[in-house]
């Protein structure tokens, strides 16, 4: 075709178009002058003009899509059918960088996933990145990260010669957000998320940042194992670098939904990038939607600057969704998002989640480990309703030591503990004997050593894997022991107990159940082992706040042991002890004490139960404490102390716990100097064992400081408290509720020293922490507000104090009844503030009810009672009601006089 011809063609074409269609033929015949080709062409053009052109009318996007990305299904062929020692089987998917195919080794049946880099020739940058991906993946050996196997380049036998590829572990699973809605509780999701975090943490430990974390890259296998994929743009962190430049500027693979703002903007990727992505993932897991929806491609439009656009709190999102779902019929078996988590706990989850999502990387969790720790705290602080009434601030600590008292000494447990080294139990001669006796211990020991070393025979790997990972793996590998149901059951039991110690009650439950089932199914009489599993389950139920069920199970197990008494004294004793703990935890102190006494008696008679006995003694001491039998409690603590010194040696933390218990009772009696002595000793033990800078040590410092405050030894108290605060801030973060106790005490000290500014500052900080951690209506916020009011009171700014007390009452009214101590105390405080403003009637209206509530307490906050009495006397005198005044005076002389601080803490 030449130019004139083309002209001609066009002219004809244009002319014909002015005519109606049915005239085209005629027109062309006339004008083409027997040039058949010409006629053909123009006719065809006219037809084509009517039709849609698949390509020419498409947008460039569409064309690019069709050519670069889309594949006709029936024509998909792999880059190579046969390469290296592999054969392709079927396609698995397409990623940003290439195609992934399922393949198998030619000489075996192993399935692998092979990733081919398509269009390698078109983009040199891709080739580099692919090579880096391989290098990165080869470094990562972790049970929750897809393992790298092999790599190469397709050779001349393939059409796609030169295409690089690598083979990795084939993961058959669903993406992380796939089945969240359907089956899982919030707790289950959190545990899943923790596993993900651990894998990421491991990678960071290898100096590798993932950079593209998203649910599509995180698969969950059918058995629940989580696997991370696609370290496609993982960056190697250079020494001392927090972030790094992307390998090729301009190559942005990041899916904007999960990517941090700074990585979209500048391409910088670092640890905090991964933290952010994890935060988004957690957010989505919690409430089913994204924190920053509606992302687009261009960096200009993405605005994840949380200071302008903070994401909605997960709890609000869930609540909103629940409201809008309220009308629809729930599907069977579907559990709602918010179920099972107390309202006050959602506040903690909110702040946990949002902290990872801050726009400024410096404000996020500094590491995945810190993130994990917070989640752990959240999970461990499952609210047990505080033991009714008193001693809330101390009793939590007191009880915690014994709360997870486990039916102890499966010897394998000892071995596991010994190897892992996390629980600092020393192997004593007694224990060694028990170990030697247990016939199965050998096999189990071998097992755990294998576990420790991993399949790669790289012992140091264990250092990099957390205990939990090890136990998880143990659980997996225990499944392989199907041939030995007895051993398998023992292992399940052991691992279940480990999980319990680690706080994974759901996993513990599953494993103990499994152990129980297997043991029940074994031929012959298995009463002891079945009973052991039953008891552990009972303890689990207790830990899950199901005391009735726990007690029932424990009683049943005991009955079965008692019926088969012979030679099972040890087990029986442990069973009594477990039941005792369950009852104490449920608030039935005297019944619990009964059981514990029984256990103690049995254990005293046995030769090889020293450690069990020690636990029992301590538990009994706690029970007596709650029953306010301080002398009995002390006696037992002393026995436990002596015993622990023998078993564990002088510097062991068990000793420290005993000392702390002894200090507790002394304090309750008001013997502060004795309490101080014990606490100093306990602190020394902690310092020696844990080190000077350790949260446990900080805890002891704070406890000692509290006592010093009562003794008015303020400067030293202040010093200790500041030290403790500093340690805790580092360990838990500056806004963690863990530090509230110390802050409270610092506040008290500052108040006593009349450093008003400091006191106010501490108080405000405490309030802020409680607010963000527990919600603005949480009772702790109320108590802290009241404390702030007290500071103003001490500064003699009564109106301000009054205002704060009223505020406190309002907050407390949400979660506390009028008969609660916290409310009563604030009433008394408010009454006093009013009294000092000479508003006597109003004052009486507050002091009186508060006073009456306080009188009814079994363990009275006597300083407040005294204060209330004084105030009432003054009020009645002012109101000219001498009879009422006299009555109170009489009551006053009857009151016990014990000194307690002027401040109460939540």
């Amino acid at each position: 075709m030449d130019s004139p011809r083309w002209q001609r063609i066009q002219e004809l074409f244009e002319a014909a178009l002015t005519l109606p269609e049915n005239e085209w033929n005629e027109f062309l015949i006339a004008r083409c002058e027997a040039d058949a080709d010409l006629m053909d062409i123009v006719s065809a053009m006219l037809q084509a003009n009517k039709r849609e052109s698949p390509l020419l009318d498409s947008s460039l996007d569409r064309i690019a899509f069709e050519i670069l990305i889309n594949d006709e299904d029936h024509e998909i062929e792999p880059p190579a059918k046969d390469f290296g020692s592999y054969q392709t089987v079927r396609p698995l998917g397409k990623g940003g960088m290439g195609e992934v195919w399922l393949a198998k080794r030619k000489d075996a049946e192993n399935l692998v996933a092979v990733k081919f880099l398509v269009h390698a020739e078109l983009s040199p940058a891709r080739r580099q990145l692919f090579a880096q991906e391989i290098r990165t993946l080869a470094k990562l050996k972790h049970p929750n990260i897809a393992r790298f196997y092999d790599a190469g380049i397709l050779d001349t036998s393939s059409v796609a010669e030169g295409t690089p590829w690598y083979a990795m572990e084939y993961v058959d699973g669903e993406p992380l957000n796939g089945n969240c809605e359907e089956r899982q509780t919030v707790l289950e999701r959190l545990h899943l998320f923790q596993t993900v975090c651990e894998a990421v943490m491991y990678a960071h430990g290898q100096q590798i940042v993932h950079g593209d974390l998203k649910p599509a890259n995180i698969l969950v296998e059918a058995n629940g194992t989580v696997k991370l994929l696609d370290f496609g743009i993982a960056r190697e962190l250079r020494q001392g670098d927090e972030g790094s430049e992307p390998a090729q500027s301009g190559l942005q693979f990041l899916s904007s939904d999960y990517a941090s703002p700074e990585s979209i903007r500048d391409g910088e990727v670092g640890i905090s990038t991964d933290v952010f992505s994890l935060g988004v993932i957690l957010y989505e897991m919690l409430c089913g939607q994204l924190p920053f929806p509606g992302t687009s491609d261009s960096a200009d439009e993405v605005d994840k600057d949380a200071t302008n656009n903070p994401p909605e709190e997960p709890s609000l999102a869930v609540a909103r969704r629940a409201r809008s779902d309220a009308g629809s019929v729930p599907k069977d078996g579907k559990r709602s998002f918010g179920a099972r988590i107390a309202r006050s706990k959602w506040g903690e989850l909110d702040s946990l989640c949002l902290k990872a999502l801050r726009a400024d990387p410096a404000e996020r969790y500094p590491s995945v480990e810190a993130f994990l720790r917070d989640i752990d705290h959240f999970l461990h602080n499952e609210p047990l309703d505080a033991h009714p009434g008193s001693l809330r601030y101390r009793s939590l600590k007191f009880a915690q030591r014994n709360r997870k008292a486990v039916l102890s000494t499966a010897t394998a447990l000892v071995l596991l503990i010994g190897i892992v080294g996390m629980f600092m139990v020393r192997l004593t001669e007694e224990r060694n004997k028990a170990v030697a006796e247990a016939a199965r211990a050998e096999r189990i020991q071998h097992f755990t050593l294998t576990l420790f070393q991993g399949n790669d025979s790289v012992p140091e790997m264990a250092d990099k894997l957390s205990v939990l990972t090890l136990v998880n793996r143990g659980a997996m590998e225990a499944k392989a022991l199907d041939q030995n149901p007895k051993d398998q059951a023992d292992l399940y039991q052991t691992l279940g107990m480990m999980y319990q110690k680690l706080g994974r009650l759901d996993k513990a439950d599953a494993l103990i159940q499994a152990a129980l089932n297997e043991r029940e199914a074994l031929p012959g009489s298995n009463v002891p082992s079945v009973a052991e599993s039953r008891m552990t389950l009972a303890l689990l139920r207790s830990g899950e706040n199901k005391p009735v069920e726990a007690e029932k199970m424990a009683q049943a197990a005991i009955a079965s042991i008692e019926a088969h008494r012979a030679g099972n004294e040890k087990l029986l004793a442990n069973a009594y002890a477990a039941l005792g703990n369950i009852l104490v935890e449920a608030g039935q102190y005297s019944q619990g004490a009964e059981q514990l006494k029984q256990a103690k008696d049995l254990q005293l008679r046995q030769n090889d139960s020293a450690s069990d006995l020690s636990e029992t003694l301590a538990a009994l001491a706690v029970a007596y404490l709650y029953m306010e039998k301080y002398d009995d409690s002390d006696s037992l603590s002393q026995q436990a102390l002596a015993l622990d010194r023998r078993i564990y040696g002088a510097g062991d933390p068990h000793i420290g716990d005993c000392l702390q218990n002894l200090a507790e009772t002394e304090e309750l009696r008001g013997h502060y100097s004795k309490a101080e002595t014990y606490e100093r000793e306990a602190l020394k033990v902690a310092e020696d064992w844990y080190g000077k800078i350790h949260p446990e040590t900080a805890d002891k410092m704070a406890t000692l400081a509290g006592t010093l405050v009562y003794e008015e030894k303020l400067p030293e108290a202040n010093q200790l408290l500041k030290g403790a605060l500093s340690i805790q801030e580092t360990a838990y973060g500056k806004e963690s509720p863990e530090i509230a106790y110390v802050l409270n005490n610092l506040n008290m000290v500052a108040d006593k020293q009349q450093h008003w500014e400091d006191a106010i500052a501490y108080d405000r900080r405490t309030i802020a922490i409680y607010r963000s951690a527990f919600g603005v209506q949480d009772y702790r916020v109320g108590v802290a507000t009241a404390n702030l009011g007290s500071v103003y009171f001490d500064m003699k700014q009564f109106p301000q104090a009054e205002k704060l007390f009223r505020e406190a009452l309002q907050i407390l009214a949400n979660e506390r009844s009028e008969g609660s101590i916290d409310v009563a105390i604030v009433h008394v405080k408010l009454g006093r503030a009013l009294l000092y403003q000479r508003r006597y009637q109003e004052a009486e209206r507050n002091t009186r009810p508060g006073y009456e509530v306080l009188l009814k307490q079994t363990s009275p906050q006597t300083s407040y009672i005294l204060a209330a009495q004084e105030d009432l006397i003054a009020i009645y005198e002012a109101l000219k009601r001498p009879k009422d005044s006299q009555k109170v005076k009489d009551e006053q002389s009857n009151s016990k006089i014990a000194l307690a601080g002027g401040r109460h803490t939540p």
Binding site: A44, M45, A48, P54, L60, I63, A64, Q248
Partner: protein
């Protein structure tokens, strides 16, 4: 068509120092990734999002200014390069895919036109055949070929094309219509009456 071992869109006889070549490689990669990224959004059914090549080019120009290796290149030269990059990337990709299939694209040509219409669009094939046609057209009427290329591969509007070539909008429309019809017509098997 150009061989991709040189830079796509390059004049065949130009010589370039290695550094520049490398930098250009990266630039090409950049375009490729952008294109791919946009393409993947298409899958997400975002019909309103169209590729704005002007924005792309500007962005690339900015990066260009930052890289010392390409400092000597003029903007005009750069434009020449970038004008055809998209097209060349796609053509190359289509070629390779064709090579992978048994017998290449050749087998497909014999398919029944109805099948072509009702089945999935064989974009790769279409593209390659149109490329041949465009080559032919370019020899006869380069402006018209550029109009097609500009419209299809660079997302240029009628106005932009008119401005570029100094012709009216109507002329652009007319030339486009004819070229489009012709290219399409070439593809369809001839009807025998």
């Amino acid at each position: 068509m150009t061989d991709t071992t040189n830079n796509p869109g390059d004049k065949p006889d130009a010589k370039r120092p290695d550094e520049e070549k490398l930098a250009l490689d990266h630039l090409i990669s950049l375009f490729y990734e952008k294109l791919r990224r946009r393409a993947s959004f298409f899958r997400r059914k975002n019909p309103s999002a169209t590729l704005n090549s002007t924005a792309l080019v500007n962005e690339a120009l900015m990066r260009l200014k930052r890289s010392p290796q390409l400092a000597s290149m003029t903007e005009e030269h750069f434009k020449n390069l970038t004008d055809n990059v998209m097209e060349n990337i796609l053509v190359d990709a289509a070629r390779r895919r064709g090579a992978k299939k048994r017998g290449g694209w050749g087998e497909q040509v014999m398919m029944n036109p109805d099948e072509i219409v009702s089945g999935r669009r064989q974009f790769g094939l279409e593209l390659l055949t149109h490329e041949v046609g465009l080559d032919v057209l370019e020899k006869v009427n380069p402006r018209q070929a550029d109009i097609v290329r500009g419209r299809v591969f660079r997302g240029m509007t009628v106005k932009e094309l008119g401005a570029k070539h100094g012709i009216s909008d109507t002329t652009v429309e007319r030339e486009w219509r004819a070229a489009r019809a012709w290219l399409e017509a070439r593809n369809r098997p001839k009807r025998k009456e």
